[in-house]
């Protein structure tokens, strides 16, 4: 009997800070054992930018703040059997979702962009313009957690999640015996 094929994993950072991807590296030497069971497909870690094959697991860092995030997330949903939201930004919107608090203005998005690029007191923006290069994706009206855009199968909490919780989740998922998180693994330090 041949060895079972390695599980294919894809990862992406949407409206996140790459901290959760750094946290993946916090698995330290356990990564070596894990790499015997998985291979990375589309991911910043491999620099593969489009799906080459269907993947078993998709790991999403960050929520959706612009249309490209939405597009990418839907691509992941289409191409991955299991989708994991990694970290608070993916789960709740996180820090970028602070702009959702601007909700009582007539045009909250315009107010947000104007403060960020034009009227904020600590700005140095010589153009006095809101960036609008055609290559920039359109910004969403607010930041959405991943679960409001697509079905998410698992959510790994933390900011960033610890290497331990990421490892134990992936290891037990790959063995088909994931039953939930250990209480002590759920923390935000």
């Amino acid at each position: 009997m041949t060895d079972p094929r390695k599980a294919r994993v894809a990862t992406v950072s949407l409206a996140g800070c790459f901290g959760c991807h750094m946290a993946i590296l916090d698995m330290d030497e356990r990564l070596i054992g894990l790499m015997e069971k998985v291979e990375f497909d589309r991911s910043p870690l491999t620099d593969i930018k489009t799906f080459t094959r269907r993947c078993d697991i998709g790991i999403i860092e960050g929520g959706c703040c612009n249309e490209e995030n939405v597009h990418t997330l839907i691509e992941f949903r289409k191409n991955c059997d299991v989708l994991i939201a990694l970290g608070q930004c993916a789960i709740m919107g996180g820090l970028p979702a602070m702009r959702n608090a601007i909700m009582h203005a007539a045009e909250p998005l315009r107010e947000c962009l104007e403060e960020a690029y034009i009227s904020g007191p600590y700005l140095r923006n010589m153009t006095r313009l809101i960036p609008n290069d055609p290559v920039l994706p359109l910004v969403l009206d607010r930041v959405y957690p991943c679960s409001e855009v697509v079905d998410i199968d698992y959510q790994i909490p933390g900011c960033a999640p610890s290497g331990d919780i990421i490892y134990s989740t992936l290891a037990t998922l790959l063995d088909g015996r994931f039953t939930g998180f250990d209480r002590e693994d759920i923390r935000f330090d």
């Binding site: 939405v70 609008n132 359109l138 910004v139 969403l140 079905d151």
Partner: protein, 607 residues
């Protein structure tokens, strides 16, 4: 409004005088602030400084109280403040048109004060007039059954400088104290029962009690099976026994007349028609537990009853049945629903913000100012007076096995005969609906927002502590009403009334309301149903007072009894993508700002 130094000094004298009237007692803070509010139409920073100096508190302690109650204002209010009752029943009865009429005549929108300082217009939750909607308070005067035309007429009179009483009821000034009460508000007693609203002999219960030992009074009350009528249904006799059994120098009897549960107005009728009986019951309770002080906590919305109640108290003193040892004062509330909770009510009587207290200790051992305190509902005290007159056996024989005697029901909403019904416990909902002319009801909210919403399949359930417990509110909804609009309204009520002490209640109720809004907008998935249930469970489990423990009930009971309403509004995901996420509306604002279309989601580009 800027206070100049000269005016400020003159005002201080007035405030010093108000504080002195209450003995510069910090425990009378609410009374002081209410009087300052009435004199000045707001509680200014300078006023707070003056009050703090007079009663020996810090300014922030005064502000803590002043900012807690919605009838106290930290910004100048108009000389005439019109508070429109924003209950769901008022909304369904045409509140919008009434608001529009007031707003147009006075030139201000709800929440605003006119530039000349003459008028303020605002919304307030249920003012206890659900049987005669839409209703409003104009200063302390109550105006009921408002229509667009009537609102215009009142507003025009007010603009002409006519006092609120005259503006609502021409000839008001000539009326006596009791006549004014009855002229403003209808009683709508639809069914008088044997105990409370039928013929009642004055002071007979008290005479019987005076001939009994205090312990024997408690025995009689316990034997009657009487349970508290405010909603929780604690056995009255046991409550008294605890208070009497606690060693203390002082004991206090408090009557809870903070009838704030939307849809409840039975206490209003009791205080209008049977005030004597209520005070009699309090006097009996005082004898039973050994109290010399009594307080009636009257909700601010019932300010119009105050003179009438004072007159009844005065008359009782003159008759010698009050004031010889035991006496009663009336503590006016200031528009806070949570003060109906006994701990919060006691806090409020103590001159503090109306926040509930941690239990235990329970008020019966450590209540008002730390002394054993009996808090009972208006209706409960009236029952006490009657059962001592007629005997506990008489009372015990009525009702069901675990709910004895009669109960007052406040019926409102979509029915032909809204009003108060006194019925023995154990009636079927269906029978009460038939009496009220509401056979075609589609949903009934039993016990107000914190109670249970039931549908037609539950109309054979019984109104008693064994089945459907209620403080008395029965709100009827016809098949034309939107269940989720009702639930949404009730959640906005709890969001408004949460005192904010417990985060799960302060924040959780906002999230519950948002989730309900999601259903109403058709943006919910079936996961949201799970979310509603889990969040409700958390709020109930982690709130310290009854408000948070019951605030998710509109959601939970409508989910339980009207599941198809929710199911009909959920949309399943399609190919793993949420049907409820609308990318077009999400990028529409950015399209306008960037003045270009989407390269990804606009068809011209993607195809």
């Amino acid at each position: 409004m800027i206070e100049t130094a000269g005016v400020g000094a003159a005002q201080d004298l007035e405030i010093a005088e108000i504080c002195a009237r209450f003995g510069n007692d910090r425990h009378r803070m609410l009374d002081i602030l209410l009087d300052v509010q009435e004199a000045r139409r707001w509680i200014s920073p300078a006023s707070m400084d003056a009050i703090a100096a007079a009663v020996g508190l810090t300014r922030i302690a005064v502000e803590g109280v002043a900012s807690f109650y919605s009838f106290l204002s930290l910004a100048p209010k108009g000389r005439v403040t019109i508070r429109l009752c924003d209950d769901i029943v008022d909304r369904f009865a045409g509140l919008d048109a009434v608001v529009a009429a007031f707003a147009e005549e006075l030139g201000i929108a709800p929440g605003e004060t006119s530039a000349d300082g003459a008028f303020s217009l605002e919304y307030t939750p249920c003012i206890g007039m659900c049987d005669q909607v839409p209703a409003a308070m104009i200063n302390e005067v109550v105006a009921v059954r408002l229509t667009k035309a009537r609102a215009r007429e009142i507003a025009q009179r007010l603009k002409a400088g006519i006092a609120p009483g005259e503006a609502v009821l021409p000839g008001f000034a000539e009326l006596g104290v009791q006549e004014r009460v009855r002229a403003q508000v209808e009683n709508n007693i639809r069914q008088a029962g044997e105990v409370l609203l039928g013929p009642v002999m004055q002071d007979r219960g008290l005479q019987a009690a005076m001939a009994m030992e205090p312990g024997a009074i408690i025995d009689a009350v316990e034997a009657s099976g009487l349970r508290g009528c405010g909603g929780a249904g604690f056995t009255t006799g046991r409550k008294w026994r605890f208070a009497a059994g606690t060693q203390a120098d002082r004991r206090i009897v408090i009557c809870n007349a903070d009838e704030g549960e939307p849809g409840t107005f039975k206490d209003r009728v009791m205080l209008t028609e049977r005030a004597d009986l209520v005070f009699e019951g309090m006097t009996i309770a005082a004898r039973a537990v050994g109290a010399l002080e009594g307080i009636v906590y009257l909700r601010g919305e019932y300010r119009y009853l105050l003179d009438h109640l004072h007159a009844v108290l005065e008359e009782r003193r003159a008759r010698g049945v009050l004031g010889q040892g035991f006496d009663i004062r009336i503590q006016l509330g200031a528009g806070a629903y949570v003060c109906g909770e006994e701990g919060a009510l006691i806090s409020s009587c103590e001159g503090l913000p109306g926040e509930p207290k941690t239990r235990p200790p329970f008020p019966v051992t450590r209540g008002y100012l730390g002394f054993p305190t009996v808090v009972n509902n208006v209706e409960t005290f009236a029952h006490v007076a009657r059962l001592l007159d007629q005997g506990p056996g008489w009372f015990h024989a009525m009702g069901t096995e675990r709910s004895h005697g009669t109960k007052l029901f406040s019926v409102s909403g979509d029915c032909e005969r809204p009003g108060v019904y006194e019925l023995p416990y154990g009636q079927k909902v269906r029978d009460l609906l038939a009496l009220a002319g509401a056979e075609h009801a589609a949903a009934v909210q039993v016990g107000g927002p914190s109670g249970t919403m039931i549908g037609r399949d539950s109309f054979d359930r019984c109104l008693s502590f064994d089945d459907l417990a209620t403080g008395g509110a029965i709100i009827v909804f016809s098949s034309q009403r939107n269940i989720l609009e009702i639930v949404d309204y009730y959640m906005s009520f709890f969001v408004h009334e949460s005192c904010g002490y417990c985060t799960p209640c302060r924040v959780g109720n906002v999230f519950l309301k948002k989730a309900i809004e999601k259903f109403r907008k058709g943006q919910a998935s079936d996961e949201d149903i799970t979310y509603l249930k889990e969040l409700s469970g958390t709020i109930i489990e982690t709130s310290r007072c009854g408000l948070g423990m019951t605030s998710p009930n509109p959601v939970l009971s409508s989910l339980e009894n009207f599941p198809l309403v929710y199911a009909a509004l959920t949309r399943p995901s399609k190919d793993g993508v949420k049907a409820t996420f609308d990318i077009q509306s999400a990028i529409d604002g950015a399209r306008g700002i960037a003045k270009r279309r989407s390269y990804i989601f606009d068809k011209d580009f993607s195809k």
